[in-house]
């Protein structure tokens, strides 16, 4: 792992175990947002873009791309702590979210290590309307110097 944080550096002020990251909402993801993501990502699966295709599969509307929602975790984490490097992000998609809906991200610190380099494990959730769990995720984040500490 190449970050600016090397063993022996002074540990930054990282949050304690159990610390909750302030929740934040993303979306709603309307059809235009899904089209924009389809172009940007190349994932032009009509399941996400065409209500008739979604209906043929028994869905009430087009589901939001899972990776579009997963992409929200990076700005969520980095707006909370810009001095972190996301070394790992893994997730399971639990339930679909449909066009026009948004998600609420939340998270907490479930593990903290100060050596050999400062690292946190974050448990993350995306929930849809009615508090429906949409994504459960885990991130390993490393502290890296932003140059603003000294």
């Amino acid at each position: 792992m190449k970050t600016d944080a090397e063993p022996g550096m002074d540990a930054p002020c990282l949050p304690e175990l159990g610390h909750k990251i302030p929740a934040r909402e993303f979306g709603p993801f309307d059809r235009r947002a899904l089209e924009r993501y389809a172009i940007a990502s190349g994932d032009d699966n009509p399941l996400h873009l065409d209500p008739e295709v979604a209906a043929a599969l028994g869905l009430p509307d087009t589901p939001v791309h899972g990776l579009l929602m997963l992409s929200c975790f990076e700005p969520y984490i980095l707006e909370w702590r810009p001095d972190l490097f996301i070394a790992r992000l893994s997730c399971k998609f639990l339930n679909p979210l449909f066009a026009g809906e948004g998600i609420r991200l939340s998270g907490r610190v479930v593990s903290r290590k100060d050596t050999p380099r400062p690292e946190l494990i974050l448990r993350l959730f995306a929930r849809g309307s009615g508090d429906t769990p949409v994504i459960v995720a885990e991130a390993a984040v490393l502290w890296q110097s932003t140059g603003a500490e000294s």
């Binding site: 190349g42 994932d43 699966n45 043929a56 990776l67 997963l70 980095l78 992000l89 998609f93």
Partner: protein
Amino acid sequence: MTGAAEHAQQGPAGPNEKGTDNAPVRLPPFKVRIEPADVAEFLRATSGHPKHHRVPITFPVRWLALPEVRGLILRSIGNGFIPVHEGQNFAYERALQIGADYTVDIEAFRTPAPPHLTLRMSVVTEEGEICARLETVMRIVPALKPA
């Protein structure tokens, strides 16, 4: 994901339900360049923060939509089935850089009961240093017909 559903009828065979899955299939490594305009477009589409000037960690999923990768997915899924994205993992050794060239290596393998297709991607610098590894897990389900 990856636009496979619309082509699900074209594949040669469905998931192997007898538990004798295919061996991993590896594509020849291919080169990619991270263009600034592509990053900017991706950031706009994903609620990213353009002022960070960094490559989003989910950006490599773009390469799953390249024709050779899409073809591999479609062949692996088979006729009359669609992929449902079930899980995703990104692991970074170092951040990807805007404007840099990388080599991408992808392999796919199926597992039975229930049938899944897993894609594994590695992203390597021109100097051969590993930057990122991705794993995409898709459940393979029958494509329902309209009533």
